[in-house]
C-alpha cells in the first residue's frame, strides 16, 4: 500500500465516521483529527513539493472495457491536495465547537454536514490523483456531485442556485465528455501521454474544438464568464464553515483540470498558434481576456452586494481570473503568480468567510445594513478580517500581493498593457469593495442590540488566527510557497521560477518581500513613535458621537451600505445591465421553447398527421426506389 492509497483510504474513512457518530458532539473533533491524519499522510509525500519528480502511484488500478484506470500524485496534485486538506481541516475545526451546537440546535444534521465536507475532500483527492483522462472525468463528476451535496445543505436560495449549478455542471460535463470521445477517436487511448503525443499532429480545427470543449467544461466549475451566475449565491448560502471550504478551494478544481489538459497536455504554446478568425488574437489571448473579464465583472458585482457572504463569494469568482490569467502567460513569473494565487486565495478567502461566519454566529446576520461598530466587541475577528481583506485586495504585506505582483510583472515583461490594466482595475474595485465590507461590519456605528455581544468562541478563533498567520507569513516569506510552485512548474512542464525565501531576483527589477515587509513594519514603528510624541489623547466611548453640530444618539441609525459609493455609481451604475442574466434567461427560454415545440410535435398535436406523413414518405421512397 503506497502513501497515496493510505491517504485515500483515510479520506474515505473520514466520510464514513460522521455517518456513525452522527449528531454527537464528538463528530467535529473526530473529523478534525482525521483531517490531521490526512495532512500527515500528505506530508509523507512532501518530496513532491520539493522537487522530487517521480509521482507516487496508487497500487489500485481498474480494468474497464480494456481500459486501465489508475491514480497517482505528482507535484501539481500534491500542491492542490495540500490546500484541500488544509481547508478541510480548518473548516472542520471551525465547525467543531459552539458552531456545531448552534447548527444542531437549529434542527440541521451535523452528520450530514461533516459527511458532505469529508466527501468533498475525498472526491477532490480522487480527482487530483487521476492518472488518465477517464479517471479525471470520473473524479470530475464525483466532485460536482459532492459540492452539490454541500451546497444543498443551505437555505432554499442555496438549493435553487445549487440546482442551477447542477445544470451548468451537467452541460460542462457533457462538453468534457465530448472532448474525451474526440481524444479517444484520435488516439485510441485515454492516457495523458498518448494525448500529448497526438497533439502536434492534430490540425488546428481539432485543437480548437478540444480547446473549446475543455475550457468551457472546466470553466463552469471555475465560474469563468459567462458561466459564473450560479456560484456566488450557491456558495454564500452554504452553512458557514462549508462556505469557507468551498470558497477556498472547490472551484479551483476547474483550474486544476484546465492546467492538466490545456497546459500540461495541449500546451500553451499550441494555444498561441491558434488564430481567432478575423482578429489579431490567438486562442490563448481569447482565454486570457475571458480571465480578465472574469476579474472585472464579478468584482464590480461584489461592490454592489450588501450581504457580506455574497460579497465574498463574488470576489471568489473574480480572483479565479487572476489565477487563470497568470497561468496563461505561461512564463516562469506569470505561471508562478497564477499557481501561488491558488494557495493565497484559499488562505485569505477561508479567513474572510470564517470571520463573517463568526459575526453571524454572534449577531445572527450578515446583512451589511444591519451591522457595524463591532470592532471593540470582536477585536480578533476584526483582525482576521483585516488581514484577509488586505490579502484579497492584494496589498503588501499579505500574500495576495506577491502572487498578483508576479502576474503584473509577467504582463509588463510580455508587454500586454490592456490585460494589465484590466487586472489592476479588478484590484482597485476590490479595495473599494472590501473596505465597504470591513467598514460596515466592524467600523462605523455600533447598533444598540450589539452592545453586549462577545468575541467569537475559541473554536472559531483558532482556525482564523492560524490562517491569518499563514496569510501574513507567506507574504513575508513567499519563498516558502514558491518552493512548491517551482516543483509544480517542473511537473507541468512550465519554465521553473528561480526564487529565494524573500521572493524573486530578476536583473530588471525583482521583489524581496523580506525587505519590503520589514521596512513597512519599521515604517509603522516610526509612525507609532511620531504618533506617541504628541500630547496624550482621551479615548471617548464608542457611542459618544456627533455630526453636523448635533450629538448622535445610538438610536439614530446612519450606517448604510446601499450605494456606499454614490459618486462612482452615479457614473458606472447604468453600466450594470444584468446582461449575463439576460443572456442566461434568453438561453433558457430558447431551450424551453424548443423543448415545448418538440414535445408538442411528438406527443400532443397531430400524431395522426405525422403517421400519415411518415407513411407517405415511406411509400414514396418504396415506389420511387425502382
Amino acid at each position: 500500500m503506497t502513501p497515496l492509497d493510505q491517504l485515500l483510504l483515510l479520506s474515505a474513512l473520514t466520510v464514513v465516521v460522521p455517518l456513525f457518530t452522527g449528531n454527537r458532539r464528538i463528530t467535529g473533533p473526530l473529523a478534525t483529527l482525521l483531517y490531521t491524519g490526512q495532512g500527515l499522510l500528505l506530508l509523507r509525500m512532501a518530496g513532491l513539493g520539493y522537487g522530487s519528480e517521480t509521482p507516487v502511484s496508487s497500487a489500485v488500478s481498474l480494468q474497464v472495457l480494456g481500459l486501465e484506470l489508475h491514480w497517482r500524485f505528482d507535484a501539481l496534485s500534491w500542491f492542490f491536495a495540500l490546500i484541500t486538506i488544509g481547508a478541510g481541516l480548518l473548516s472542520s475545526w471551525f465547525a467543531s465547537g459552539e458552531w456545531a451546537q448552534r447548527y444542531r440546535d437549529s434542527g440541521s444534521s451535523l452528520r450530514l454536514f461533516h459527511a458532505a465536507l469529508a466527501l468533498n475532500v475525498f472526491t477532490m483527492l480522487v480527482l487530483l490523483a487521476s492518472g488518465e483522462l477517464l479517471s479525471l472525468f470520473i473524479g470530475w463528476e464525483l466532485v460536482s456531485w459532492a459540492s452539490f451535496l454541500m451546497m444543498s445543505l443551505g437555505s432554499n436560495t442555496a438549493l435553487r442556485y445549487a440546482m442551477r449549478y447542477v445544470t451548468y455542471a451537467f452541460a460542462g460535463a457533457m462538453a468534457v465528455l465530448m472532448g474525451l470521445v474526440l481524444v479517444y477517436t484520435r488516439t485510441g487511448s485515454f492516457e495523458f501521454q498518448a494525448f500529448r503525443d497526438a497533439v502536434p499532429s492534430m490540425d488546428a480545427d481539432t485543437v480548437w474544438l478540444l480547446f473549446g470543449l475543455f475550457a468551457a467544461g472546466f470553466g463552469v466549475k471555475m465560474a469563468l464568464l459567462p458561466f459564473h451566475l450560479w456560484q456566488a449565491k450557491a456558495y454564500a448560502e452554504t452553512p458557514g464553515p462549508g462556505a469557507a471550504f468551498l470558497g477556498a478551494i472547490s472551484s479551483r478544481m476547474g483550474l486544476f483540470a484546465m492546467i492538466v489538459v490545456l497546459v500540461q497536455i495541449i500546451g500553451v504554446a499550441r494555444l498561441v498558434e491558434l488564430p481567432v478568425p478575423f482578429t489579431f488574437l490567438s486562442g490563448r489571448d481569447l482565454l486570457a481576456w475571458v480571465a480578465v473579464f472574469t476579474i472585472i465583472f464579478p468584482t464590480f458585482t461584489a461592490l454592489r452586494q450588501h450581504d457580506a457572504r455574497r460579497l465574498l463569494a463574488w470576489h471568489g469568482i473574480g480572483q479565479g481570473g487572476y489565477m487563470l490569467l497568470g497561468i496563461l502567460i505561461a512564463d516562469d513569473l506569470g505561471s508562478a503568480g497564477g499557481l501561488m494565487h491558488v494557495f493565497n486565495h484559499a488562505t485569505y478567502q477561508a479567513v474572510l468567510f470564517m470571520s463573517v461566519t463568526a459575526v453571524i454566529h454572534r449577531t445572527g446576520t450578515s446583512d451589511l445594513n444591519k451591522l457595524g461598530g463591532l470592532v471593540a466587541r470582536m477585536p480578533l475577528s476584526f483582525l482576521a478580517m483585516l488581514i484577509g481583506i488586505i490579502g484579497l485586495a492584494g496589498l503588501p504585506p499579505m500574500n495576495g500581493f506577491v502572487s498578483k505582483w508576479l502576474v503584473y510583472r509577467a504582463l509588463i515583461l510580455e508587454g500586454s498593457p490592456l490585460l494589465f490594466l484590466g487586472a489592476v482595475i479588478g484590484t482597485l474595485g476590490t479595495i473599494l469593495s472590501v473596505y465597504k465590507l470591513i467598514h460596515n461590519t466592524f467600523l462605523g456605528q455600533l447598533r444598540l442590540e450589539h452592545v453586549d455581544i462577545e468575541e467569537a468562541p475559541s473554536s472559531m478563533l483558532w482556525p482564523m488566527m492560524i490562517l491569518s498567520t499563514v496569510v501574513f507569513v507567506t507574504g513575508y516569506f513567499p519563498g516558502l510557497v514558491l518552493d512548491w510552485i517551482a516543483s509544480v512548474q517542473a511537473a507541468v512542464g512550465l519554465p521553473v521560477l528561480a526564487h529565494h525565501l524573500g521572493g524573486v531576483h530578476i536583473d530588471k527589477g525583482g521583489l524581496d518581500m523580506i525587505w519590503v515587509v520589514s521596512v513597512l513594519l519599521a515604517g509603522f514603528g516610526v509612525g507609532a513613535l511620531v504618533f506617541l510624541s504628541g500630547n496624550r489623547s482621551k479615548r471617548v466611548h464608542q457611542l459618544d458621537n456627533y455630526a453636523g453640530g448635533h450629538f448622535l444618539t445610538a438610536d439614530t441609525r446612519y450606517q448604510y451600505s446601499d450605494n456606499f459609493y454614490p459618486g462612482l455609481m452615479h457614473l458606472i451604475g447604468p453600466w450594470y445591465r444584468k446582461s449575463f442574466r439576460w443572456l442566461e434567461g434568453g438561453f433558457v427560454s430558447t431551450v424551453d421553447t424548443v423543448s415545448q415545440l418538440m414535445q408538442g410535435l411528438y406527443r400532443h398535436t397531430h400524431p395522426a398527421f405525422y403517421l400519415l406523413a411518415v407513411v407517405v414518405f415511406a411509400l414514396s421512397w418504396v415506389m420511387g426506389g425502382d
Partner: protein, 299 residues
C-alpha cells in the same frame, strides 16, 4: 554596499523626504496665496502647524483602530520613501520596484480609511467613500503610465530607470522618449497628490464633511505629516520616471519642486470637482492620452 550603509540610508530617506515635503507644503500654500493676492504663510509655518497640532490639549481618540489608522497613514509613506531612489541613496529600489511602490502607496489610504471608519461619524464615512472613489479614478491613468514607463525602460527597478535616462543626457529623459505618457502622468498628478481641484474628499474648507471631521490634535497632525510625504512621493516618482531623476541634489530639488508646483499653479485656478466629475475627467483625458502614449511607445 554593506548592511550598515543601507540601514543608514533607510533612516535618512524618510527624514529627507519629510523635510522636502514640508517645503512643498509651504510652497503650495504660497502659490495659493499669491494667486489670491495674499502674502502667504512664513517659512516655518508648516513646522509651527505640526508642533501646534501635536501639542494640543484636546485630543479625542475614538478607539485603537482610530489611532492605528493614523499610524498606518504615516508609516506606509515612511516605508514608501525607502523604495524611491534619490541622489546618492538607492535604498530598497532593487528589492521593491515601481509596482511595489504603487501598492505601498495605497496603504496610507487604507489606514486613513480604517481610522476614519472607527470614528463612526457618517460624514467621515462619506469622505472615505469619496477618497476611495477618487483613488479608483486617478490610479487607472497612473498605473497606465507606470506600465508604459516600465515597459519602455525594460525594468521596474527605479534606480535602473534613472541610470538609463542619465546615460543619454536630456534627450534620454522619459519626457523626450514618451511625451504623451509624460503628459498623461502630469494630468493625473494633481489627483494623485489629492490637491486642488480634486480635494473634495478632504474638503478642508468645509471640514464637517470630510475624513478630517473627527481628527483633532495629533490625529490631524499625522495627516499633515502624511501630506508632506504624499507630495514628495508624487513629485519624486514623476521626476524619476520622466525627468531623469537626479544625479545631484542641486539638480534634483528644482525638478521635484517644479513637478509639484507647475500642475498646482494651474490646478488652483480651477473650481473643485465633484467626485463623479473626478472620475469622468480622470478616465477620459489622462487615460486617452496615456493609451495613445502606450501605443506610440510600444510600436
Amino acid at each position: 554596499m554593506n548592511l550598515s550603509e543601507l540601514l543608514i540610508e533607510l533612516l535618512l530617506m524618510p527624514l529627507v523626504a519629510f523635510v522636502i515635503g514640508l517645503g512643498m507644503v509651504l510652497m503650495m500654500r504660497k502659490i495659493a496665496a499669491r494667486l489670491g493676492r495674499r502674502i502667504g504663510p512664513p517659512l516655518l509655518q508648516p513646522i509651527y502647524d505640526i508642533i501646534k497640532l501635536y501639542g494640543k490639549r484636546t485630543q479625542i481618540s475614538h478607539g485603537l483602530i482610530h489611532e492605528i489608522g493614523i499610524i498606518m497613514a504615516v508609516g506606509g509613506y515612511v516605508a514608501a520613501e525607502t523604495l524611491l531612489p534619490v541622489p546618492g541613496m538607492n535604498g530598497l529600489a532593487d528589492k521593491g520596484g515601481v509596482i511595489t511602490l504603487a501598492y505601498v502607496m495605497m496603504i496610507p489610504s487604507l489606514g486613513m480609511a480604517l481610522g476614519v471608519g472607527q470614528c463612526a461619524n457618517p460624514n467621515g464615512s462619506i469622505g472615505i467613500s469619496r477618497a476611495l472613489t477618487a483613488m479608483l479614478a486617478y490610479d487607472i491613468p497612473f498605473i497606465l503610465v507606470i506600465f508604459g514607463a516600465a515597459y519602455v525602460y525594460g525594468t521596474t527597478n527605479l534606480a535602473d530607470i534613472i541610470a538609463i535616462q542619465q546615460q543619454q543626457g536630456v534627450s534620454g529623459w522619459g519626457l523626450m522618449q514618451m511625451p504623451l505618457l509624460a503628459l498623461a502622468g502630469m494630468l493625473a498628478l494633481p489627483a494623485v497628490m489629492g490637491k486642488q481641484p480634486f480635494e473634495i474628499y478632504i474638503a478642508p474648507a468645509e471640514i464637517a464633511t470630510g475624513p478630517m471631521v473627527e481628527m483633532s490634535g495629533k490625529f490631524m497632525g499625522g495627516l499633515f505629516v502624511m501630506q508632506c510625504f504624499q507630495l514628495y512621493t508624487a513629485g519624486v516618482l514623476y521626476t524619476t520616471l520622466f525627468l531623469g531623476g537626479g544625479a545631484y541634489w542641486i539638480t534634483f530639488l528644482p525638478k521635484i519642486y517644479a513637478v509639484v508646483a507647475i500642475p498646482m499653479a494651474a490646478a488652483m485656478l480651477f473650481p473643485r470637482y465633484r467626485t463623479e466629475d473626478v472620475i469622468r475627467l480622470m478616465w477620459k483625458w489622462p487615460v486617452l492620452v496615456g493609451l495613445m502614449g502606450l501605443a506610440v511607445a510600444m510600436k
